[in-house]
Subunit: 664 residues, 2 copies
C-alpha cells in the first residue's frame, strides 16, 4: 500500500444525499428550488468539525460555499438555491475546526477555574498560524488578537476576548486547505424551468380537428381548436407525429393489415417520398401554417409538444439515403419490426448497432434541432426504451447544453428499471404505471415510491388516465364517475398529468375487443370527429380541476404527498402542501363508480399543517361547500352519481379559512 499524498486529512465525508448511482447521474430540480444536501461529516477524536456545501454553475470557475449545520449523529445539512436553467455542480468539504475546539475547551477550563496561561498562548499560536494564510488588514487583525490574548492584564479579560465569536469568524475565513477533506465526488443537478414539474397535457390528433366530419383536419383547424384547450385549462398541447405517412404496408382502420383506399394510416408510420422526420404531412398544411399555429398557441399561453418517434415507414427517405442505419435481412431486404411471430412490415426500426452509429446519432439529434429551430421546446419521445441507452445519455445533454429549456417526456411503458434508467439519462418527465393503478393500495404504494424514495430525485412522473393506446378497463366499465375520478386522481396526485382528448371528455369507452385496451375505431388509424359541445362532456369538470391546479401551489409539485388512512377501502384520501404550509390541499376520492361510499379518515395533522384538537373549516373547491372539521378524525361521504371527489382547501399553515381566502 502506498501512502496518500496527504495523510493528515482527518475528516471523513460520506453518505452524501442526494446522489444517484454513486453520482453517475444528475438529480433534477426546478429554477428557484433550494437544493438541500446532507452528508455524514466527522473526524477522529473529539475535535470540533466544520462542514461546507460547495456549489457552482457547471462552467463557473470558483465555488460558492454555504456552511452546513449539524443535525446530530454526524449528519450535516446545507442548501443552495438553483436560480438558472442548466447544470450546477455540488460537493461537500470538511475540516477540523481547531480554533473552534480551542475556544470551546477554553470556556470549560475557565469555568473550572483552571490556570489558562499556556492555553491562551496555544490560542495565540493558532491565530499566528492563521495569520500566515491571511493578508492585509485581516492579517494584522489576527496578529493583534494573538498579541492581546496573551498580553492583556487579567486572565478573565483575556478569556472574554479569546472567546469573541468575531475572532472565530475571521479565522474561519482562512482555513488550512491542505488539511481540508473534499468529498471525492462532484455531483450534478440539472435545473429545468417550472414546466418540467408542473404541466397539464392535452393530446389531440391534428387531423381530427376539422369542424367538418370526414374532412382531414389542418393546422388552421388546430389553431381554431386551441381556445377550447385553453378553456379546459391545459398548458401543453401534444400532437402525434405530423409527418408524411408511409404508403407501403399502410395499416387500415382498426389496425387491419390492408388499408382500404382513402385510409389515412398511422401517424407513427413516419415518412414517404414527401419527406421524413423534418417534413410535414401535406394534408395538415405547410411549415408556414405550422409556425402560425405555434405563434397562436404561444399567444394563448400554450406550448406545443411534438411526438418524436424514431422509426421509419418503408418509404421514408432515410431508407434510401442512409441504408446503413437499418438492419439487413439475409436476402438483402431491410429488417422490419417484429415481435415474433408478429410482423410489422409497415415499420423499419433503426439499427443502433450499425457501424454507422455516429452518423445515425447525429441525424437523430438533428431532428430535435430542426424542430427546436422552429420553436418547439417539448418533445414526447415515442418508445425510447427501444433505442439504445447510450444514445439518450448523449443526445439529451447535447441538446440541453445549448437549449436548457427543452423538455423530454419518455413514453416508455415497460419494466421499472428501464423506465428509471431513461429518467436517469435525462428524460425530464416519464409516463407511469398510473394508468393501471386503480385500488387504494395500488395508488398509495406506487405514488409513495414515486414521491418519497430516491426515485423522486430524477424521475418526473406524468400521469395519464388514458392514451390513444390505453383505454384501461375501469374506464370501459365505470362510466362517467370513473372518468371523473381518474381525472381528479391524475390531476391531484401528479403535478404533471395529461389526457388523450376528446376521447376523454366524451368518455369514449368501447374497446376494440373485450379484455383489450385498444380503442374500437382507434383514432390512430382513421379520422375522427368529436362533438366537443356534447352535453355529456366532462369539459367543465376538467376546466375546474385545471383551474384549481393553477390556483393552488400545493398541487404544483409532488413534494409532501401524504396518504391519510381511511376505514373504507373505496375511499382514498391524500394531501399535498407547500413547504411552509401556505397552500394545503386534501383530496378524497371514491374509487367505487357505482355506490356512495362513506367512512372516516384519520388525518396526519402535521402533514396538513393543522393543530390537534381544534376545529377548522375546509372548503370543497369543486362545489364551494364548506365543512367543519375537528382534529384528525373526520367523516367523508362521496356519491359517484354527483361527484366522486372532494378537493379541499385547508386553512393555510394553521390559520382560519377566512384569512386563507383573503390571502388568495
Amino acid at each position: 500500500m502506498s501512502k496518500p499524498a496527504e495523510g493528515r486529512r482527518r475528516v471523513v465525508i460520506e453518505g452524501v444525499k442526494p446522489e444517484i448511482d454513486s453520482g453517475r447521474f444528475p438529480v433534477k430540480r426546478i429554477v428557484g428550488d433550494n437544493l438541500i444536501v446532507e452528508a455524514d461529516v466527522f473526524a477522529d477524536g473529539h475535535d470540533q468539525v466544520e462542514a461546507k456545501l460547495l456549489y457552482k454553475r457547471e462552467n463557473e470557475r470558483d465555488w460558492h460555499t454555504v456552511p452546513m449545520k449539524p443535525l446530530g449523529n454526524d449528519r450535516w445539512r446545507g442548501a443552495f438555491p438553483v436560480l438558472e436553467q442548466g447544470r450546477y455542480i455540488y460537493t461537500v468539504s470538511g475540516r477540523v475546526d481547531h480554533f473552534g475546539t480551542w475556544q470551546s475547551d477554553l470556556k470549560k477550563r475557565i469555568e473550572a477555574d483552571q490556570n489558562v496561561t499556556v492555553d491562551l498562548k496555544n490560542g495565540a499560536n493558532l491565530l499566528a498560524e492563521t495569520a500566515k494564510l491571511a493578508k492585509g488588514p485581516d492579517r494584522a487583525k489576527l496578529l493583534e488578537w494573538a498579541r492581546l490574548i496573551v498580553d492583556e492584564g487579567s486572565s478573565a479579560k483575556q478569556g472574554t476576548l479569546a472567546m469573541d465569536p468575531g475572532i472565530a469568524e475571521l479565522v474561519a475565513q482562512y482555513p488550512n486547505d491542505k488539511l481540508t477533506t473534499r468529498y471525492e465526488k462532484e455531483l450534478v443537478v440539472t435545473v429545468d424551468r417550472e414546466k418540467a414539474r408542473f404541466s397539464s397535457w392535452y393530446e389531440f390528433f391534428p387531423r381530427s380537428s376539422s369542424p367538418v366530419p370526414g374532412r382531414h383536419g389542418t393546422f388552421s383547424d388546430c389553431e381554431a381548436h386551441l381556445p377550447y384547450v385553453v378553456e379546459l385549462g391545459f398548458d401543453v398541447v401534444y400532437f402525434p407525429p405530423i409527418h408524411p405517412i408511409g404508403q407501403s404496408f399502410r395499416k387500415g382502420k382498426n389496425n387491419s393489415v390492408l388499408a382500404e383506399p382513402g385510409d389515412v394510416g398511422s401517424p407513427w408510420a413516419i415518412g414517404s417520398e414527401l419527406g421524413g422526420h423534418t417534413a410535414i404531412h401535406p394534408q395538415l398544411g405547410t411549415l408556414a401554417e405550422f409556425r402560425s399555429l405555434l405563434e397562436k398557441a404561444a399567444l394563448l399561453g400554450l406550448e406545443v409538444a411534438l411526438d418524436i418517434a424514431f422509426q421509419c415507414a418503408p418509404d421514408h427517405p432515410w431508407v434510401t439515403r442512409h441504408p446503413g442505419w437499418f438492419r439487413k435481412r439475409a436476402d438483402g431486404s431491410i429488417q422490419y419490426a417484429e415481435n415474433p411471430p408478429k410482423k410489422y412490415q409497415d415499420i423499419y426500426p433503426l439499427d443502433f448497432e450499425t457501424s454507422d452509429w455516429v452518423s445515425l446519432w447525429d441525424g437523430l439529434r438533428d431532428v430535435f434541432l430542426y424542430w427546436i429551430g422552429e420553436g418547439v421546446k417539448i418533445f414526447r419521445v415515442d418508445n425510447p426504451h427501444t433505442k439504445a441507452f447510450p444514445f439518450w445519455e448523449w443526445v439529451i445533454p447535447e441538446i440541453k447544453s445549448a437549449h436548457p429549456d427543452v423538455l423530454f417526456l419518455a413514453e416508455a411503458f415497460t419494466r421499472p428499471r428501464v423506465m428509471q434508467r431513461l429518467a436517469k439519462l435525462g428524460f425530464t418527465q416519464s409516463y407511469t404505471y398510473f394508468s393501471w393503478r386503480n385500488t387504494k393500495e395500488e395508488l398509495t404504494e406506487y405514488l409513495t415510491e414515486l414521491t418519497a424514495t430516491d426515485v423522486k430525485e430524477y424521475f418526473g412522473p406524468n400521469l395519464w388516465p388514458n392514451t390513444p393506446d390505453i383505454l384501461p378497463e375501469p374506464l370501459q366499465s365505470g362510466g362517467r364517475p370513473a372518468f371523473a375520478a381518474r381525472l381528479i386522481l391524475a390531476a391531484t396526485l401528479g403535478a404533471s398529468y395529461g389526457i388523450y382528448g376528446a376521447a376523454y371528455e366524451l368518455q369514449e369507452s368501447t374497446p376494440f375487443k373485450p379484455g383489450g385496451e385498444e380503442y374500437l375505431n382507434s383514432e390512430k388509424y382513421e379520422l375522427k370527429h368529436w362533438d366537443i359541445e356534447a352535453p355529456e362532456s366532462l369539459g367543465s369538470l376538467i376546466s375546474q380541476v385545471n383551474g384549481i391546479r393553477k390556483a393552488h401551489r400545493a398541487l404544483q409539485s409532488n413534494e409532501r404527498l401524504t396518504f391519510h388512512p381511511t376505514d373504507n377501502p373505496y375511499l382514498i384520501c391524500y394531501s399535498k402542501a407547500t413547504a411552509n404550509g401556505e397552500s394545503v390541499i386534501v383530496t378524497a376520492v371514491n374509487l367505487d363508480p357505482v355506490n356512495t361510499q362513506s367512512g372516516w379518515v384519520t388525518l396526519d395533522l402535521p402533514a396538513i399543517f393543522q393543530p390537534a384538537d381544534t376545529t377548522y373549516q375546509v372548503e370543497d373547491l369543486l362545489t364551494g361547500s364548506v365543512y367543519s372539521w375537528y382534529g384528525a378524525r373526520n367523516y367523508l361521504q362521496l356519491s359517484p352519481a354527483a361527484l366522486p371527489a372532494h378537493i379541499l382547501l385547508l386553512p393555510s399553515g394553521g390559520q382560519t379559512i377566512a384569512s386563507s381566502k383573503n390571502g388568495k
Copy 2:
C-alpha cells in the same frame, strides 16, 4: 457532449450488490464462502441479454467468469467461491445475446408455421460472424453449422438443427467484446480465515494470573492458566497491554491521581525507560517466556490477541526519540490527553497532524509487524477512533497484503458512523452496543441492523457483556441470572463474542460508584486474585455454551438470524440456521432476572426449516430436555433461578430429531 468511443454497447449494468459506498470499500467474506452478487442487467428493446459475473484474485491477470441467472424484473444473480485469504476483485459484464434471441424467435416462427428461409440465412450469417472470432475446430464447427442450417433438406430439420443448444453454447464462447458492457467499477472482497467470523474471546490480565494472592503474575503463570481457558471453551485469549508501564503521573487504585508506592499502574499507560510498544513489562517476564506462552497457547488451540493502544506514558522512549510525533503546548511541554476540564497527564496522545506523519505511520505499523514477527495474529486495537482514519485505511491493508491471516478488533465504543467507518477501513471485527442493549426491542432492532442490512457486508460484530471498562447496570443488579442470560445472549446472537474474566465467571458486580459502569477496585489499576474454583462460578455454564457453539454450525455465523415474536416482553426468541437448514438452533431467553416468565412464541417456520402443521422434537442442549413442538405456535417458560434460557436444537432441514442426532 462528446460521443463515447463505442456507442453500441446497449446493455446497462446497475444496482450491483454487494457494493459499499459506491465500491470505495471492500466487502468481507470468509474462506470457503460463496460470494453472491446481484445486478440489474438489461438492454433496450426485446433482445435477450446475457450477464456474467467476473472475478479474480487481486494479482491474477485473467478473469474467471460465471454465468448469472435472471431472477425476474431485470435482476440477475451469480456467485463465486472465495477459497483463499486475501483480496478478490469482482465485476459484472453483459451483452445482447443475438444468437439466443435469434433461436428463440425462430422457435416462435416455426410454431406459427411461417416460412423461415430468410431467418435461417440470418442465423447462418450470425454463425459466420461468430466464426470470425473463433479458431481451429470451433471455427470449422461454426462454419459447418452455418452451412447446414441453410443447406439441409426440410425446413423442419433445419429448425431442429438451428435450435440445438450445443450451437448456442459454442457461440456463447465467442462473444463480441466490442459490444459487451462492463460494469464501470471493479469491486473488492477481502477474504479472511474462519476466526474472523467465529471466535470466542476471553480477556484476562496476565499480571493477575499468579496463584499466590498479591504476587505479580507472569507469563509462566499465564501458561498455567491457559488450560482453564480451554476448559471454558474459548479460542482467543486477549491480554491488555503487556508493555512497561509509565512511572510519571502513574494512576493509583481506582484511578486515583496519585499512585501509592507499590501501585502497579494502568497497563494502558504504555512505556517507560524500559521500553515502549515493542518491549515487555519485566515483571511479566522475558520475550522468551512470551514466546513460550504463545507456543503453549497454540498447542492448546488458543490464539493470543494483543492489545494495541497507540498512546504513550510520559516516559515512553518515543517521547525523546520522536518528539515530532507529539503535539507541543505553547510552553514547549508535550500536550497530554485532555477532555477539558479533565486532564490525563499520564497519557500523551500521538499527533496525527504532525508534519512527521509519514514516520509516525511507519513507526506504528512496525509495532504490528514486530508482534506479527513473534507470532501474534490478532490485535485488539484500543480506541482506534481517536487516531486518524487515513492511517487505518493505509495500515490495515498494508499489513494484510503481507499477512492476510492477521485480524483486527476495533475497540471503538462511539457514534455509529464512526464505528462503521472503521469497519469499512479494514477492521475485521468491532465491539458493539450490545453491552447496552437489554430489552427485547433493543436487542431485536440492533441485531437486525447488524445482520440484515448492508452493515453486515463489512462490520463484524463481537458482542461483549462486560469489559474492564464496562460493568453494565443489569449485571450490577441482576445477579447470577443476569450474568447467565447476558452470556447466552452474546454467545448465541453473535458468532463472535467475548467476556472479561474472571470477573464474569465470578459475577463481580460492584461498581466504583452507583450509576457508573466502572468496576470498584478495577483490575485496570491493581493486581487481582480470582478464585476461579469458587462454587458460584459460571464456568460450567460458559463451558457448556461454548461447547454448543463449537458443535453447531448455525451459531458460527450471523447469517439467517431471525427473531420470532413472543407475547411476553421479557421473553426473546430467535433462531440461526445454516443455508441448507442442516443446523438450526432456536434460542429463547428470559430477560427478567427475578421472575419466571412464560408465553407463546410464533415461529417463522421457513426460517427454522420446519414444515407447517407438523409435530417435531426440540432438544434443549443446556439441559438435555426434549420438547414436542407443533407448527409455529409453541409455549415457553423460563425460570431465572434455574436457567434463564433454552438453546434448542431443531430437526435439521425438516428431518426428525432422531436422524438429526445420528448426523451429529
